[in-house]
């Protein structure tokens, strides 16, 4: 389902335009995302409350969210857990021979414990986040990935976090 990405190597005018157009936010969409990447109302009718603040109907808010999800811009409406406060997680990396990258990446993505999986430009070229209910389960998952791929898996667990997660800053530079 995920599309691969591509640093644009084609001149801009020749590149396909659809993704750019799809990623453009209407003013109301931008306001919705600015206001509600956090502080989701914890009340019986949260979408109605959001609608009230935005000055639109609840049906409009629900439709905007469905539409943003269909375009892939919104992954979900829900919670983000604090790593380390719930279960166990780590950032892991592997040095995958380039001809095996696709195969190993798919193998890794196939584990339900993996939520982010990216190729990066380095000798360690595959990076993923592993999340599990317990440390034992986490360790076992890393072991299963190493065995299945026949490659070493390096684990860099979090020690300390310095940012406050306010969601993704839109349009700000």
């Amino acid at each position: 389902m995920d599309q691969t990405i591509h640093e644009p190597r084609v001149p801009r005018s020749l590149a396909p335009r659809a993704p750019e157009a799809e990623s453009r936010l209407a003013p109301l969409e931008q306001r919705l995302l600015d206001l509600y990447q956090r502080d989701f109302p914890l009340c019986p009718e949260p979408y109605a409350e959001m609608a009230h603040r935005l000055g639109v109907s609840e049906a409009t808010v629900l439709q905007l969210l469905r539409d943003l999800m269909a375009r892939g811009i919104v992954g979900r409406v829900g919670v983000v857990f604090r790593p380390g406060r719930c279960g166990a997680s780590t950032l892991a990396a592997m040095a995958v021979p380039s001809e095996r990258l696709e195969e190993v990446a798919n193998l890794v993505s196939g584990f339900p414990e993996i939520n982010h999986n990216y190729a990066r430009e380095d000798a360690l070229n595959l990076w993923f986040v592993v999340t599990a209910a317990s440390q034992e389960h986490l360790k076992e998952t890393l072991g299963r990935i190493a065995t299945a791929s026949n490659l070493e898996v390096h684990s860099m667990p979090m020690v300390e976090t310095y940012h406050v997660d306010l969601g993704f800053r839109l349009g700000g530079h």
Binding site: S23, P44, E58, V80, S89, P112, R120, S155, D165
Partner: protein
């Protein structure tokens, strides 16, 4: 299970919401129906998980790639552990930084312990931001690497409870 949530009801709630809230008029009532709780109990437990810091954010989860932020760089430094927090807090003052943390080194091959993530629309823009960051946070003396991501294979929320394992009602 070593979740820092004590009771089975909370585990069930986490399982029910980790894929997202339903998009309907009474989402918390609907979640409650799935796991045998009232709407008020669901709201109360979510408030409690939030107050205790298990939930760090509740709301719309945006996928930056689809928004056109396609140049994503992870920058890593090898700094003395004792200086990491001071530098880390300076780094997060920059508005283009989305994540910053200290991680355990993976020695011998990977000596880096300070990580930050930058999402930009263009690679040049991200490289400029990294240069500014290095100067302002006095990071130039420390070994570092910039790892652009050139491909995303998977991005979704974390699943802490394997779906369907615990909480059928």
């Amino acid at each position: 299970m070593t979740l820092l949530v004590e009771d089975l009801q909370q585990v069930c709630l986490i399982e029910a919401i980790q894929g997202g809230f339903p998009l309907c008029n009474r989402p918390f009532r609907e979640i409650g129906t799935q796991i045998g709780l009232t709407e008020a109990e669901v709201i109360g437990m979510l408030a409690d998980l939030q107050a205790r810091g298990v939930i760090k954010r509740m709301g719309i989860v945006v996928r930056h790639h689809e928004l056109g932020y396609r140049s994503n760089a992870m920058v890593v430094w090898d700094v003395p552990d004792g200086q990491a927090a001071g530098i880390g807090h300076r780094i997060t003052a920059f508005d283009f930084i989305s994540l910053c943390y200290r991680r355990r080194r993976a020695l011998p091959g990977w000596p880096y312990n300070l990580y930050c993530m930058i999402h930009g629309r263009q690679r040049d823009e991200v490289n400029d931001q990294i240069r500014r960051l290095m100067v302002d946070c006095r990071l130039e003396p420390f070994p570092h690497k910039v790892l652009f991501s050139n491909r995303r294979f998977k991005q979704r929320g974390a699943f802490y409870v394997a779906p369907g394992t615990t909480c059928e009602v």
